[in-house]
């Protein structure tokens, strides 16, 4: 009994010890919550704040700042970036814009959504949206298609009056994505997602990963890791098609062959 108790205490100690380790292993303290995202934004690609999809990131900033966030997007997803900026009580007309860049810092086009919007004088807030193209698993190196990896969002005032420079604003960012399924499957995959600095990360030994919190350019992965490109609903379609074809084959056979054997024919025939 006593041995068991000691063992229990030992396990408990182990659990307590492991708890902070588990907390440390999360990419950033802000990212641990489900919907409460980081409360800060970066000021360059290098310092972009990482946001998970589905989280709401907030930031207090000044008019004229360039705010950067980054989020992971995987093949088959069609991300939508939404940003809201709460403007100060009195201001002149301002134009705000969100730009989305991929892991290679190439600008990505928005299919639709108000990417740029002009806020008339004294409007309390401005809402922006950008619906990206579907992220493909692979594309030619000469193409600009969105590929799985890190995506950067830059939010800034494009046109503003000098008197408004430095005025406090509150920005809010949310990224969600629609799963486009096997319709978006393409012929090929990347070996590694387009995550900046991934070569340095794969080169370093992953074993001593948890006790060296060295800074990395991008750390977040999609919720269930990067897809291997193996699974898609195409398997179901194809399998169902095969089964239906087999049934149709049996039906066709019965139609021409007739049912059963003619009487008098031995079963061994």
């Amino acid at each position: 009994m006593r041995a068991i108790r000691v063992l229990g205490v030992a396990l408990l100690t182990l659990g307590l010890a492991a708890a902070p380790a588990a907390a440390d292993s999360s990419p950033s303290p802000e990212a641990s919550g489900d919907s409460a995202g980081p409360t800060r934004a970066g000021t360059s690609f290098r310092t972009a704040t990482e946001v998970e999809q589905g989280q709401t990131a907030t930031a207090r900033a000044s008019t004229g700042d360039y705010l950067y966030w980054s989020f992971p997007a995987d093949a088959g997803q069609r991300p939508t970036v939404q940003a809201t900026v709460k403007l100060p009580e009195s201001h002149a007309a301002e134009t705000w814009q969100i730009d989305v860049y991929d892991g290679l810092r190439r600008r990505q086009a928005c299919q639709y959504g108000a990417q740029t919007r002009k806020a008339a004088a004294d409007t309390p807030s401005v809402a922006l949206e950008c619906v990206l193209r579907t992220v493909r698993a692979w594309s030619e190196p000469w193409a600009n298609d969105p590929l799985p990896g890190t995506y950067y969002v830059r939010l800034t005032a494009l046109r503003l009056s000098p008197a408004d420079l430095g005025q406090a604003v509150d920005a809010e960012l949310r990224v969600e994505s629609k799963d486009m399924g096997g319709a978006a499957a393409v012929d090929g995959t990347l070996s590694e997602p387009l995550v900046p600095g991934i070569a340095a990360r794969t080169a370093s030994d992953p074993a001593d990963d948890d006790d060296s919190p060295t800074a990395v350019l991008a750390d977040l992965e999609p919720e269930d890791g990067w897809t291997s490109g193996w699974w898609s609903d195409r398997w179901i379609w194809t399998a169902a098609g095969g089964a239906l074809a087999a049934l149709a084959g049996v039906a066709g056979y019965r139609l021409t062959r007739g049912s059963g054997r003619p009487r008098g024919v031995p079963p061994t025939a």
């Binding site: 006593r2 041995a3 000691v6 063992l7 030992a10 396990l11 182990l14 010890a17 492991a18 902070p20 380790a21 440390d24 800060r40 000021t43 690609f45 290098r46 310092t47 207090r60 000044s62 700042d65 360039y66 290679l104 810092r105 190439r106 600008r107 698993a137 190196p141 000469w142 046109r159 000098p162 420079l165 430095g166 406090a168 499957a185 090929g188 070996s191 387009l194 600095g197 991934i198 070569a199 340095a200 794969t202 006790d211 060296s212 919190p213 800074a215 350019l217 490109g229 699974w231 379609w237 194809t238 098609g241 239906l244 039906a251 066709g252 056979y253 021409t256 003619p262 024919v265 025939a269």
Partner: protein, 424 residues
């Protein structure tokens, strides 16, 4: 029995304690990134005569700044090396030359003794001129040494009174000298001219400008900037691109920084093995007033001058940075070209088409940031589409039809065979 088990239990407890010992220091060390020097922050406070004005929540600007500093000093993270420098704190006379030299280190950059720093701040009395330019130079010198991130937080309530030295150009020079030095500026109850000057200083170094009207805004902002300095960031490595591929430096995977003047070409080289993929992206920052149309071009060129792939970006309007990237998967080696060297040298050429009005200084060049990643290339297709899988109602229809026709034929065939067999 119990005696026999005790050593096992003891071993378990020991193991747990050991694990805890291994894990807890790791948690504590998370604050101080391994392999990175401590971040340094220099607070640069304007103590000029105009700080006497009583327009921040009913108290004087100086009193608001002092209170904010006290709160910031309380909240400063342990690992940050914090220093305080003043400008215009000592010389009250009218001699411009003397007034423009008036900048002093109030508290040296180093481990923070909160009481000492607070006592030093309490002694400040609004006095003299506003020599922002010279003070920035000195503040940058205070931060010298170490590889950690460096940040100057400038708090001022009036524009520079020491022309012709333009603080904006000073900031640009400072940024060009040191890697990763950022100047953030805060304007106390600013007018349009001060806003412009301070935001120019901030933009020259990739920092931010905030205008402050209330004391709590000041505290929050300075706290946030100090916290931001404490966040671990990747420090880029200085590289110097050449004007042709032959002389270009060879880069490995990593993050690099360089300077590129208007219309200049910068060349770098990267070695890519067969079956590897080169990923490169480049950002050219507009750290000064540039004309509203601009572009950046990144080309991957063979040593013989053939262009492999390019990334290009153009832009219009206000921007901090313009960036583009490219990807070059090098094909696997065939057996028959074993005579060729295993690694191919790929030349990366960066050009920009930023331009500036006359009167804007063109040196130092625009800050350039280059990331290079050489990863394993894709090894053949493994995507579902290439397995021959399909989807959609047409596919289903086609399969059913084929199956049905095959069934019909087979049925007809077996009936015919049976008829033949019967006649036999």
């Amino acid at each position: 029995m119990i005696r026999r088990k005790r050593p096992v239990a003891g071993a378990c407890a020991l193991l747990a304690a050991l694990t805890a010992g291994l894990v807890f220091p790791a948690g504590a060390a998370a604050d101080e990134p391994a392999g990175q020097d401590a971040p340094k922050v220099n607070l640069l406070l304007d103590v000029s005569g105009s700080m006497r004005a009583k327009d921040i929540d009913g108290q004087s600007r100086m009193a608001a700044a002092k209170q904010a500093f006290n709160e910031v000093l309380d909240a400063t993270p342990e690992e940050v090396r914090l220093g305080i420098r003043t400008l215009g704190a000592d010389y009250a006379g009218d001699d411009r030359k003397e007034g423009c030299k008036d900048t002093a280190q109030l508290y040296p950059v180093g481990p923070l003794d909160r009481t000492e720093a607070k006592t030093a701040v309490a002694t400040l009395v609004p006095t003299g001129w506003t020599p922002i330019g010279p003070a920035l130079l000195e503040a940058a010198d205070d931060l010298d040494g170490g590889e950690g991130s460096k940040r100057i937080v400038l708090i001022s309530d009036g524009e520079d009174t020491c022309a012709p030295l333009d603080p904006c150009e000073v900031a640009r020079e400072i940024a060009a000298k040191g890697i990763g030095l950022i100047i953030d500026t805060l304007g106390l109850v600013p007018n349009a001219k001060l806003s412009r000057q301070l935001s120019c200083i901030a933009e020259a170094t990739g920092g931010t400008y905030t205008s402050v009207e209330h004391q709590d805004e000041l505290t929050d902002r300075v706290n946030e900037l100090v916290d931001r300095a404490a966040e671990p960031v990747v420090t880029p490595v200085a590289a110097e691109g050449a004007d042709s591929c032959a002389k270009a430096p060879v880069l490995e995977s990593g993050l690099y920084t360089d300077r590129e003047e208007f219309g200049q070409q910068r060349w770098y080289r990267v070695e890519v093995l067969s079956g590897q993929e080169l990923r490169a992206s480049v950002s050219v920052a507009a750290d000064r007033a540039v004309r509203p149309d601009y572009g950046v071009l990144l080309r991957a060129v063979t040593v013989h001058g053939r262009e492999i792939v390019r990334g290009e970006a153009t832009g219009n309007g206000r921007t901090d940075v313009l960036s583009t990237g490219l990807r070059y998967p090098k094909a696997e080696r065939d057996d028959d070209d074993s005579g060729k060297p295993a690694a191919e040298v790929v030349c990366l050429a960066v050009t920009n088409s930023f331009s500036a009005d006359s009167g804007v200084k063109t040196t130092p060049g625009l800050p350039l940031e280059l990331t290079v990643d050489v990863v394993d290339g894709p090894d053949g297709s493994s995507d579902v589409a290439s397995f021959g899988l399909g989807r959609g109602w047409w596919l289903l229809g086609a399969l059913i039809l084929t199956g049905f026709v095959a069934g019909l034929l087979w049925g007809w065939l077996s009936r015919w065979r049976f008829a033949v067999w019967r006649t036999n």
